[in-house]
Symmetry: C2
Subunit: 738 residues, 2 copies
């Protein structure tokens, strides 16, 4: 193990230490008045209740899957025996990260509101550092898990002469991502349904029917709504990016092991084990350095009293951008130190990944922020009613999906080209796929601080809610409103980033799927890893491999697979969309019931039954997430069993491409509707209370499940389907029907 590897566990430890430090620091702040404490306590209890319920379900599902994996591993022998354990560890660490992150967020909200009674900077820093707890816990635990497994497997997996050891180790470690993916499925889909059932339910009865403002304590669903922010936007987002972070590093490690193994197909020189090892640890090191830079970045976020919205955004952006700029420099130094062949090209791929992330963020901002034409046009169309608001939003959302797709296309092409020295010859394929992998790692390298800005949003939102419910002074609420508005901007770009990184991660996973199948095939042929008639065996096997598995586009199984991939995406997002509709309906009924049966509720003399609404959201989310989750988990296995490797590859690429597009469409349309409403509320086209405003409120409500449930759930779907295919690759290879 090279000495530099130990940087990974060290950064992991530092990330967790600083997370703890920020948490303690936050806990030292007072929670404010009794009312504030009470509200915060309600939200905390609700969030814990939800998490407890969710983990109960998760444990059962993990048990079932672990049993299946054990049968595959020990019974049928088509899977590595380490897989069930790695799977569970991934789920465990992801669950732990969600738990800590949400704890911090729910403890922070009242404290942030209280801090805003003194100063804006104090509020911003407290909210942001509380968000950083989530960010650092996520990256820290990912790196802990990776370090642990890498050390353990290095010890247990026997040395081989031809470099298969690292292939085996990285392939096992990848299955740790499957655990994270499964955990994320429940956190994102369940959390997404929860938050929007509560939000839509609260709005439809509270705002529309009863005419009371948002976050009014008289609304029985208001606590559930606030719990939802934590459940969906903190825990759900965290689990989602935990998975992307882990999977991008692990997939790239495997791609590195495959690319720098045995004979170089171009030069004919045999790679040393050192080079292969360095290629494997390179993504880990980049993530580790990015984590250290994230910690530094967190300290750079501060603002001054009376800061404008733009200045606030700049304050957050400063920390993020400095971290990103520095990772460009440091990743070059790391690659130089590791001495990989073509390290300049590989570095180029990392930079491409970073730029793609920024580009997608910019595009998201353009299409969803009210400072730009698209959202303004949606607001303008409110003059002809809600229908044109929806039509315009859908049109804009669809077009907006084209930009990130274009960015990803350019990013893939360039990341691949840089890593191969601009060759598309098949001999260079492995390097190109490694390039795509490091691009994903590059995009996610400073996740620690990016995620802090994401988690900041719901904390500020809840602080605002707390201030509103406790009727704090106008000045305080102006401060919390400023923080909240900032959170809305970071939420939209954060969503774009989450989707973009999910797509790139899924592509890296897909590449590692190819490598795994190929390795199985090469092993199966028992080809010596040497030159055969001057052609490296691994390359000679390539043509044969493509032919054997028929993963070419003339094969109807591939085409059928692609159709099935698109089908899964539409089915899954339709299901999650309808799930919100049904769960929200139950919430509407309950809120109406409470307004009807609890006397004094509207006068503020009686307290509504908040807990009942929390319970309804929790139960609704748990029930409704089962069917879509089953779709996500079963389809890849069934397609593998029927159509084999060819069908699976088609399925995955169909899912990734159309899922990415649909996710961006939904997130951006939702974001644009949200901000079009706010734009009208700022006084344009008649302002608050006008008919135009009502039209944009309808748009916003439609956008809620778009941007917070179905859209983000697709991130999970595209990663999980690839993961499930990677983990069950042996099944598709051994037992396919056609």
């Amino acid at each position: 193990m090279p000495l530099i590897f130990w940087l990974v566990p060290v950064s992991a430890a530092l990330a967790l230490l600083f997370a703890y430090y920020f948490f303690r620091q936050m806990m030292r702040h007072p929670e404010g008045t009794d009312m504030m404490k009470k509200i915060a306590e309600h939200v905390r209890k609700g969030a814990s209740a939800y998490l407890r319920q969710q983990y109960k379900v998760v444990i059962v599902v993990f048990f079932i899957i672990a049993v299946i994996f054990s049968i595959l591993a020990y019974g049928l022998g088509v899977q590595n025996p380490w897989v069930p354990v790695a799977f569970i560890s991934g789920g465990f660490f992801s669950g732990l990260a969600g738990f800590f992150g949400m704890k911090a967020a729910t403890y922070a909200s009242a404290r942030v509101a209280h801090a805003c009674r003194t100063s804006l900077d104090g509020g911003l820093r407290l909210a942001f550092r509380s968000g950083a707890v989530m960010g650092l816990v996520v990256v820290g635990l990912v790196l802990v898990d990776i370090s642990l497994w890498f050390v353990i497997l290095n010890y247990f997996i026997p040395e081989t002469a031809d470099g298969y050891k690292l292939m085996t180790i990285t392939a096992i470690m990848l299955t740790f991502g499957m655990g994270a993916s499964t955990q994320a499925l429940f956190a994102r889909v369940g959390g997404g349904i929860y938050t929007k059932a509560a939000d839509v339910g609260a709005d439809l009865v509270g705002k529309v029917e009863a005419g009371i403002p948002e976050d009014d304590p008289r609304n029985p669903a208001t606590i559930a709504d606030n719990v939802g922010d934590n459940v969906g936007d903190v825990a759900g987002m965290g689990a989602d990016l935990f998975e992307s972070f882990a999977a991008s590093i692990l997939a790239t490690a495997l791609l590195g092991a495959a690319a720098f193994m045995g004979i170089d197909p171009v030069t004919g020189i045999k790679y040393t084990l050192d080079i292969q090892t360095n290629a494997v640890i390179a993504p880990m090191l980049i993530a580790a350095v990015g984590t250290l830079l994230s910690i530094a970045g967190v300290f750079m976020v501060r603002t001054k009293e009376g800061a404008t919205q733009k200045q606030l955004l700049h304050s957050l952006g400063f920390g993020v951008n400095v971290s990103a700029a520095l990772i460009v420099v440091f990743s070059f130094l790391i690659l130089y130190y590791l001495g990989l062949p073509n390290y300049v090209g590989i570095w180029g791929s990392i930079v491409i990944g970073l730029l793609a992330g920024i580009g997608i963020g910019q595009s998201t901002e353009y299409f969803t922020a009210s400072a730009y034409k698209p959202t303004q046009r949606i607001a303008e169309s409110s003059q002809t009613g809600a229908a044109t608001v929806i039509i315009n939003g859908v049109g804009t959302g669809l077009i907006s999906a084209a930009v990130p797709l274009g960015i990803i296309v350019v990013a893939i092409t360039l990341a691949y080209s840089f890593a191969t020295g601009f060759s598309f010859h098949v001999d260079y394929l492995n390097f190109g796929l490694y390039g795509i992998g490091v691009a994903a790692v590059g995009m996610l390298s400073t996740l620690g601080i990016t995620l802090a800005t994401d988690a900041y949003g719901p904390i500020a939102d809840n602080a605002g809610g707390n201030a509103q419910m406790c009727a704090l002074g106008a000045e305080v609420r102006a401060r919390t409103d400023a923080l909240d508005a900032l959170g809305n901007t970071t939420a939209a770009t954060g969503k774009g980033f989450a989707i973009g990184s999910a797509a790139l991660t899924a592509l890296a996973l897909l590449a590692s799927y190819f490598e795994e199948v190929r390795m199985m095939y090469v092993k199966f042929l028992d080809m010596p890893n040497e030159l055969i008639n001057g052609i490296p065996a691994i390359d000679a096997a390539f043509i044969d491999f493509v032919y054997h598995y028929q993963i070419h586009l003339m094969n109807p199984k591939v085409i059928v697979g692609i159709f099935l991939g698109v089908m899964s995406v539409f089915l899954f997002s339709g299901m999650t969309m309808n799930a919100v509709g049904r769960a929200a309906q139950k919430m509407v009924d309950e809120v109406r019931r409470q307004f009807r049966t609890i006397p004094g509720i509207m006068e503020g003399t009686a307290e509504p039954d908040y807990a009942r609404c929390v319970e309804i959201s929790t139960k609704g989310a748990q029930k409704e997430m089962m069917l879509p989750s089953l779709v996500a988990l079963l389809i890849p296995v069934i397609v593998g069993l029927v159509f084999g490797v060819a069908g699976i590859t088609g399925l995955l690429i169909g899912t990734i491409s159309s899922g990415f597009a649909l996710a961006i469409f939904m997130a951006n349309a939702g974001g644009a509707w949200d901000n079009a409403k706010k734009y009208v509320e700022e006084g344009h086209y008649g302002g608050k209370g006008s008919e135009n405003h009502k039209a944009t409120v309808i748009g916003d409500t439609v956008g809620d499940p778009f941007k917070d449930t179905s859209g983000p759930s697709l991130n999970i779907l595209i990663k999980l389907m690839v993961m499930a295919s990677v983990v069950t690759v042996g099944v598709a290879v051994s037992y396919s029907l056609l």
Copy 2:
């Protein structure tokens, strides 16, 4: 030329003869009162004005493309010299079909309204037979064009020993489809934008603001709205299916030529030229017999006075179903007579295609008709407002897309399997692709009568409009309403059928793209079409072919292509959606202006300026269709130039799969919203005028561009992109950058 081939021109002639007969028969009916004549004249003039304007644009575009093709053919030599001529002929015949079809429809509406003054059966038969003019002209002209070209090219293209002659002929004929495709692009996109700009504009001001009913003569946009039905639903739909009908036959002919050429890779027996010829003419014969059966079917449609909605639907269905049942029998006889190897299997593929068409129709009906749960649930959700109506509609639409995707997956798999005798070995690939082709032909074989039911819809709709505007008696309007309601049902299933057949046709085209590239490659290698070491050369070249063009899923160019395909779909549909928004806005402004400035318009004492509204819709449609059309035409060429054949194949499959899904989603969501509104209007959940009704009206308005513009335009996109790739295949092969 085998004798039986002459059945094709004979059926073509008969189809045209009967179309003329139905037209003359219709023209003999009186048009009714002076008012009825005047309204009909307005609509007729508007439709002609639109068509004239459109053909002007089309002629310019055809000229430009023909010049480009001429350069490719005569200058660069990467295209067959016949291509420019074939291209123009396809466009000409498609345009002619649209012209006749729309003429018939616009002459029919007042006559149908008048016939309804006497009896329901008279109205139905007149409307249906007027629709049959369109249906029979379309299939007749396709078969005329195919017969002509086949005879001409057989005469001019020199005989070769190895069976390349028929490959060349069918490849040239396929480019005739490119002309039809380009024509359809303008008819469908332009017509789609026209009809919905007028409809949405008329509704937003007339129904919502002024509170006057639909088809009220006081609404200045009402004539434009009626013109739109003819322009979009008759001419647009006709051009769309003209293209599918032509392309499915031509692609299958090419696939037949490729499959039954030279040495059979399985048996090693050399195919005779007779067998190859029979495989080529088989799809033409099936289409010809289907056309004869369609004529017979038209005569079977009749009903009795006071028929219920169900009985009316049964009347139409009877003609369609009898034709479909008989084609099953007759296609078997044809294949038996032609003596193709495995004719039973090929027949199975045809039946699969027919069944898939029926299945998709059934699924469309389930998801959009108010007799079933999904639409009823959307209506139910109106109780919580417009937002939940939209959310439910989107959710249901997304899920509904999964069913036809599943049907197509099963259909592809089975059609392929039947034609290969259930082998997925690459040796059988050509037979399997031929199987997919004949499945598409099977689905479309009875297009003559299917299209008659489609064209019937807008004729009945216009008849209803005429009756309403002329304030005919309640009994008459009850009859026209009954016919119109029936038209709504056939419109929804017709859309599903159009999309499904477009997808299957596009897949057949994709297969023929593969064959064309492969043939180029085989020719390029100058491989003798004989056995090499016991392996047929064409099969030995296969592995090499896949390797050479890298059309496997590990190639980043393929993956990038798939992303670009999905991107095109989202971009294109977003553009068409926004186009409707903009064009409708102009209509809204104009209608408001007329209400404001023309005194006496609301009292009915002054006539609104109908012509101005027609002009605005026409101009708006022409202007707005340019950009999306450019996207559709240029993207395949650019991708071919940059990413070569590998990129193109990815692009096409990405476009077809995601375009199909998005088209179904849009069509079904739109249909369901439409019928949910009608369901409420029937008295459920508060009935007409209630708040719930208003919520469903918003849903219906949103659904308008979904189901009548963006959705159907995608049919064109998926076929046109493949067509454009097929026609410019030489460019991608010769000049790609990467």
